[in-house]
Every structure is written in C-alpha cells, then in structure tokens.
C-alpha cells in the first residue's frame, strides 16, 4: 500500500507521543505514589509498612474504593456527576441482607434484587438527567437521599449478620458459606478475593474506556455534548448505561464488603463519597467530561489506600487522616494542571 511507510512512521511517532503522554500523566501520579511509599517506609517501624502482608491489606482496602470509582469514572467521562453511589452502596447490602435473612429469599434472588435495584436507580438518574433535563448534580443529590430513606425503611436501621440472624430466623449454612466465599477464599500468598474482583472490574472498564466503540463515543459525548448532538451520537442511551454502570458497580462493591465483613448496616457507604471522588479526580479524569482512564482511577485509589494505611500504621489518628487526604486530592489536581501544560 502506498501509505504503508507513512503510517509506519506515524505509528512510531504515535507510540512515542502516547508513551510520553502516559509517562507524564502516570509520571506525576507514579512519582506521588513512590514518594508516599518512601515517606511511610522511613517513618514506620522496619518491616511493617513495606511488607507483603501490608501490601495485601492495601490491596483489599483500595478494592472497595476502586470498584466504585471505576463505575463513577464512566459517569464523569460522559460529563455528568453521580452523588448517589454512596447511598446505592448502602441500599444494595441492605436489600441483600434483609431479603435473604428476614424474608427468607434464596441468596441468588437477594443478589438479583440488589442489582435490579441498582439498574433501576441508574435508569432513574439518567432519565431525570437526559429526558427531564435536570443537572445531574441536583438529580443525584435528590435520588441519594431518596435511596437512603428507602434503605432505612427496609432495614429498620438494624445491623444484620446471616451467621447470627435475629431470633426466630434461620439462614441455610450452605448459602452463607457460598456468599462469604465471594470475598473470602484461601488464595496463594493470602491475596484478598476482593483484589481479584477489582482487577476483573478494572479490566472490563479499561476495555470499555480505551478499547471499545462505546468508550470512544462516551469520551466524545463528554468532551463536547453540543457536537455530539449535531453528529447524532446516541447521547441518551450512553448516559443511561453510564449511570446504570455506576450504580451496579457500587452495588457490587457493597455486596463484596458485606461478604467479607459478614454483617451490614444501612449507613455504610456514605463515607465512600469523598475517597471515591478523590480517586477519580487524582486519576486524571476531567470533571468537565471527556477524559478518564481505568488505570488512572485505579492509581488514584491506590494512592489514597496507601496514605490511609500508612497513617493508620503510624497511629496518627483520624483527624490528621482527613487532613492529609484533602491535601493530597488538591495537590493531585494542581499537579494535573501543571503537567497539562507539559502534555501540550
């Protein structure tokens, strides 16, 4: 083909350009992660922070944030915001525990109920955003509260544990074993099950964002909604999928945490809002839409998990943790602004 040499050359510059791009982008984040690791290694007692068991603790801790944040990345890339995922997280575990333990449903039906609810919540969010044309910030602020109300109503605000059901209720042991097994398996080196779930989700979301037509168009729609409309891209459909994906992944993370911890209470998940948003933003997704990657979000979650874990090892107390997390998030955005200049 006549254009073969040209395209080979441009493929070369393309890879060079992309490598540089990824380098500078990952550079800032990778340097930050490395820096934080060095600081904690120096500050902590020998062989506590920098050790395999601690690395696996970090992996488990980051998995919840990462799975939810990967879902939120879809919504952020398409140029919207979801504030309801924390409440969706609470609702999913509540629906599973209440229908399974209190209503005597088989576990598979309970899980199906939680995911059906997630799809419904995502669809309602998307419907109000696209067809009724209300800003997603307001929509999800409202649906979040609404979901929380439903959660409190359904749960009766009690803490439930299938292994110790309330008096008069029984849960089949084989179902308990299977369900807890979702997040507790004996794996080589003691790798946490949730870490594998996280990697699986990251691969799927990574494929969607970087390798699929859907992800390509999601970026186009988020980058310029006006142009997307004039190009007749299916904006409404894509926003539905993004919001539903976000709610479904929040439910998945919720279910896995329930299976890992063994019990659930309705107000879990609300504290996720900050770290999840922080992970997505640190990961380089643009809040104005059109930009975001799975690997970035994953790295953001990793950075936050390292800081959380490191500060816990140093026993600095909760107040300083909030302070440091806030600082790091802002620093990451500042760093992003700075490296954006270099990327051009």
């Amino acid at each position: 083909m006549a254009e073969a040499p040209g395209s080979a050359a441009s493929a070369g510059t393309r890879w060079a350009g992309r490598a540089r791009d990824v380098g500078i982008r990952a550079g800032g984040l990778a340097i930050a992660i490395l820096l934080v690791i060095i600081v904690f290694t120096l500050l902590s007692k020998p062989n506590t922070f920098l050790s395999l068991p601690n690395a696996l603790v970090i992996m488990r801790y980051m998995s919840t944030i990462a799975i939810v944040a990967l879902g939120l990345t879809l919504v952020i890339v398409v140029g919207e915001i979801d504030l309801s995922f924390g409440y969706m997280y609470g609702l999913a575990a509540t629906l599973i525990s209440v229908s399974w333990i209190m209503w005597g449903w088989p576990i598979w039906a309970s899980i199906a109920l939680a995911f059906a609810a997630a799809i419904l919540v995502g669809a309602v969010n998307a419907l109000l955003v696209t067809l009724v044309n209300i800003p997603s910030f307001i929509v999800t602020l409202g649906t979040g509260q609404l979901i929380f109300g439903v959660t409190l109503l359904v749960s009766g605000t009690q803490t439930l544990n299938p292994a110790y059901p309330p008096d008069g209720y029984t849960v089949p042991q084989d179902q308990i074993d299977w369900f807890f097994g979702l997040a507790n398996q004996h794996l080589p080196f003691g790798i946490p099950m949730q870490g594998l779930w996280m990697i699986g989700v990251a691969v799927v979301i990574g494929f969607i964002l970087s390798r699929s037509l859907f992800g390509f168009r999601l970026k186009a729609i988020g980058g310029n909604p006006a142009a997307a409309q004039l190009a007749r891209l299916p904006i409404v459909k894509y926003k539905f999928v993004a919001f539903m994906g976000c709610a479904v992944l929040a439910s998945l993370a919720s279910m896995l945490d329930f299976a890992f911890i063994g019990s659930t209470q309705p107000n879990l998940g609300i504290s996720l809002v900050f770290p999840v948003f922080a992970a997505v933003i640190i990961g380089g997704a643009s809040l104005s839409g059109g930009r975001g990657t799975a690997i970035g979000t994953l790295s953001g979650a990793l950075l936050l998990a390292i800081i959380q874990d490191g500060l816990a090892l140093l026993s600095v107390g909760a107040y300083l943790q909030q302070f440091v997390q806030g600082t790091v998030t802002i620093a990451a955005v500042v760093l992003d602004r700075f490296t954006a200049g270099l990327r051009k």
Partner: protein, 501 residues
C-alpha cells in the same frame, strides 16, 4: 474636508493583529469623527470581529496606533471609553435593569445602592425607566440593548460600537435603535455601525468603510454610497470561477429530487410555508441576513430546528443503511468538533460498525486506516492523524468537520456557513469537496452569508427574507460576482420594501 480633521473622534492607523500566519487585521486604517455614524462592512473573516475585540479591550493589537480625540488610547487600560453593543446584551440577566446600570460602580460603599437621580434620568431618556426593577433576562432584547447603552453613557463612554445590533429586533425596534444611534452621534459621540445589511448601512451611515482581508479597501460617502457600490466593493479581488467548476447539472434536466419541503413552517416563526425541492447533484445556497430565517431553515432540514409541514429526504434503494439521512456541520466550530479528541478520532466519530467489531470492540487498525484515507482525500494538513484537533488551522479544522459529516454518505449534506473563518486556500478545497460530493448524486444545502461563496459553490441561490423564499437565482446565468451580488441585493431590497409597505 475630512470629517475627522477637527481632531475629535477615533483614529486608527497601522493596526495589526496576526494569529500565526493568519493576518486578521493588517495595517488597518479607520477614522471615525465625532458626530458621524461610520458604517463598517466586510465579509466574515475580514477582520471586523478582531477590530471590535481590540477596541473593546478584549485583545491587544500587535502594532498600530489608536488615537481618541487626538491622544493615544489603549482600550485595555480604559475599556469604559468604548461601548460595544451586540445583538444580545453582554450583561447580567439575573440582575434588574437598574442593578445592571450600577453594578461594578458601587465604589467602596458597603451597602448596595439604588440608582441616583442622574441614572434615573438616563433610563428615562432611553424610555426604559418602567423596566428598572425587572430582571434584565425577562425584558425584550431592545430594552436590554438600551440598558447597555445607558450603562455606557453612565460610564461616560466616548465610542459606541454597534455590532450587528438589530439582527434580532423587530422593524419598529430597529427604527428606534437607529434613531438613538443618530442621537448619540448628534451629542458628539463617535458611533460605529458594523452590519451585513447594506440597506441600513446606506440609510444610516455618514460614511461606510469596507474591510477586506484585514485592510480597509474602500471608503464610500455621499453620492458614492449606494448598496450596489458596497456590494461591488465587498467582492473586489475575489477569485473568478475556475473553468472546471462550471460543470454543473443542467437545470430542467430530470434529476431525482433528494429533498422536498412542503408547507414547511418554523415552530418559532422564523420561516413560514416554505416549498423547496433540491435535486440530487445540486448545491443550493440559502442566503439571508441574521433574523431572515435562512439559518433556521437550513438547520431545520438537518433536524436541529423544529418545523411543521412535510419534509422528505429521498431514500434510495441502491444505498446502504445511511441513506435517508442528512449530515450537518454547524458554523460554530466549537459545536462541530470534539476538542478532547485527535484529528483522526474526530474524523470517525460518526462511524460505528466500520470501526468496531460486532462485540463493540474498537478496531484501532481500521479506525486509523479510515482516518488516514479521509485525511488524504480531504487534504487535511495535519502532521499526523494523532495530533490534537486544536493544533490545526481553522481551515483544516473545518475540513475535518465536513469530512466527518460526509463519511456516512448522507443523502443531504447541510452546511451552515461552510467556510466561515477559513483561509482562501482551504475555501477552495472545501468548495471542491462539496462539488465532488454533490456530483456523486447527493444534495448539498448551505446557509451562506457571502456572495463570493454562493458564486463559487452554489448552483442555485434562494434569498430568504422575512421568513419567505424569493424566486431562485441561477448562478450560472451570472458571469461575475458583481452581477450575482446585484441580483441578490435586488431581491433582498424588494422583500424589505414589501415588508415595510
């Protein structure tokens, strides 16, 4: 002899502003005397907007001198001395008319203040006192404009620059606006009117300066100031039709009609009861000033304005799934391109199965091959298809936007001002692409504001005024741009008079 000889007024000399290689304003000379209304006319991209931006202090000139009443004047230092009045007021729609008048001039007082007697007098003079306590966003455009004038008067502005001020106003409101312009001039202000409407320029201006390619090429006054003279000056130096571009379909030949509008009426009233047929292979230009309905009509064919009546786009049996569609490119490049994507990605955004597997995975190889092919075919000058779209020149960006719309081979290609802000070289290529696409059996409909564009690109020109179509002008019957320009002006004038009568 010159009205500016008294030394009062605005005098611009040697003004220059380049964007890269694009000479937006180049050694521009403009003189506007106090007491006169200076008209400025020029095609899109001639440098009018850059001049306005410089005078408004939004951007700085690379070189040149601006004198106001004989002393050097830097609009960036004293922006309040120049008031730019746009079609839509650039004010605070959420504040009341009165608040808009005082906002920014509260000084150091801690309490908000109402308007004082002097300001009240200003509003009364402009006959908008009754609206003082209404939010600006809720009052008619004409009142918003007068608020802007009042605001400028309160700030003691010296120069009033009206930029297409009446495109969205009714006939009556326009008349009133011109009356106020005259009053401003009579009170010794410098008044500049930038407009596409030749009739109004002739009627209201003392003199009219023509700007082409960033320079003032002519200055018309007195008996020499006529619509025909302006129209002729606007097309001076424009390229003549090239021989190979004269291959046009013969009118009257039985070609299939690709687009039919019947009794087609805008739901917001910009056009009414339009009947229009466009044949496959034909390029049809709709021309009309802002507010005439031409833009809305073109957008409605693409489905981006709503209309009632019948619209049919021919679905041809020998075409694939993409037939029966229209493809649209907006005149606003911000709304036709994805700035977060590369050149190649922009070219293929409208494709789906061509660049992906049945499972929805992106076929990067295919995507790049398609993008490469399009870049070659549309002669997009880009270092590679992977560079950001923003790194391209305006002309090449526009080629990408049009290529992206053509790539699905829509039956009707709808282009809104296809070469707005595009250099001459790219214009040529864009016309060639349009011609090529039409000759493959598609209809091309353009909204166009420049006569040379209609002359070079179109087979038929319909002048739209007051929401109605005039009888078509067959471009081939006109040997040169001047003759076409006259024919168009005549139809516009005709309509205008009919509307007044």
């Amino acid at each position: 002899m010159s009205p500016a000889s008294g030394g009062t007024g605005l005098r611009i000399a040697g003004l220059r502003k380049w964007y890269g290689d694009t000479r937006a304003v180049d050694e521009l000379e403009i003189e506007a005397a106090a007491g006169e209304i200076l008209g400025i006319a020029g095609p899109n991209g001639a440098g009018k907007s850059t001049l306005i931006k410089i005078l408004a202090g939004e951007t700085s000139a690379d070189a040149g001198e601006i004198l106001l009443d004989g002393t050097p004047f830097d609009p960036r230092v004293e922006p309040d001395r120049v008031a730019v009045v746009h079609q839509e007021a650039q004010l605070f729609p959420n504040l009341t008319v009165a608040e808009n008048l005082v906002v920014g001039r509260e000084g150091t007082r801690a309490l908000r203040r109402g308007i004082d007697d002097q300001e009240r007098g200003l509003l009364a003079d402009l006959e908008i006192l009754a609206f003082a306590d209404r939010p600006l966003g809720s009052v008619p455009l004409a009142v918003q404009q007068r608020t802007e004038i009042a605001r400028a008067l309160a700030r003691d502005a010296r120069v009033f620059l009206f930029d297409e001020p009446n495109s969205a106003l009714t006939e009556e409101e326009s008349t009133d606006l011109f009356r106020r312009m005259r009053a401003l001039a009579d009170s010794g202000k410098v008044v500049i009117l930038v407009s596409h409407r030749l009739a109004e320029l002739v009627e209201h201006s003392t003199r009219v300066a023509i700007i082409l390619d960033g320079r003032r090429t002519a200055l018309l006054a007195g008996d020499g100031l006529t619509q025909d003279a302006i129209a002729a000056e606007l097309v001076v130096g424009q390229a003549q039709r090239e021989p190979q571009e004269q291959i046009r379909i013969r009118l009257g030949e039985e070609a299939a009609s690709a687009l039919r509008l019947h009794d087609w009426t805008h739901d917001r009233g910009s056009f009414r009861r339009i009947d229009l047929h466009i044949r496959a292979g034909e390029i049809v230009a709709l021309m009309g000033v802002e507010g005439s309905g031409a833009r809305e009509l073109v957008r409605s064919v693409a489905g981006f304005e709503r209309g009632t009546g019948r619209i049919e786009i021919e679905r041809r049996a020998d075409r694939g799934a993409a037939s029966g569609e229209s493809g649209f490119v907006s005149s606003d490049r911000k709304a036709s391109l994805f700035s977060n994507l590369s050149v190649g990605e922009n070219l293929v955004t409208r494709l789906d199965r061509e660049i992906s597997t049945a499972g929805g995975a992106l076929r990067r190889g295919r995507m790049h091959a398609v993008a490469h092919e399009l870049r070659e075919r549309f002669r997009v000058k880009a270092a590679s298809i992977h560079v950001p779209i923003r790194s391209l020149s305006g002309g090449n960006q526009q080629k990408v936007a049009i290529a992206a719309a053509i790539v699905r081979r829509p039956e009707v290609l709808v282009l809104e001002e296809p070469t707005r802000g595009v250099d001459i070289g790219s214009k040529r290529e864009i016309y060639r692409l349009m011609r090529e696409y039409a000759s493959q059996g598609h209809a091309v409909l353009i909204f166009c504001t420049e006569v040379p564009e209609a002359f070079e690109a179109a087979d038929l020109v319909y002048v739209v005024s007051d929401g109605r179509l005039a009888e078509p002008i067959i471009v081939m019957n006109h040997p040169d741009i001047e003759s076409l320009a006259k024919a168009i002006t005549r139809l516009e004038r005709h309509r205008g008079e009919a509307a007044v009568a």
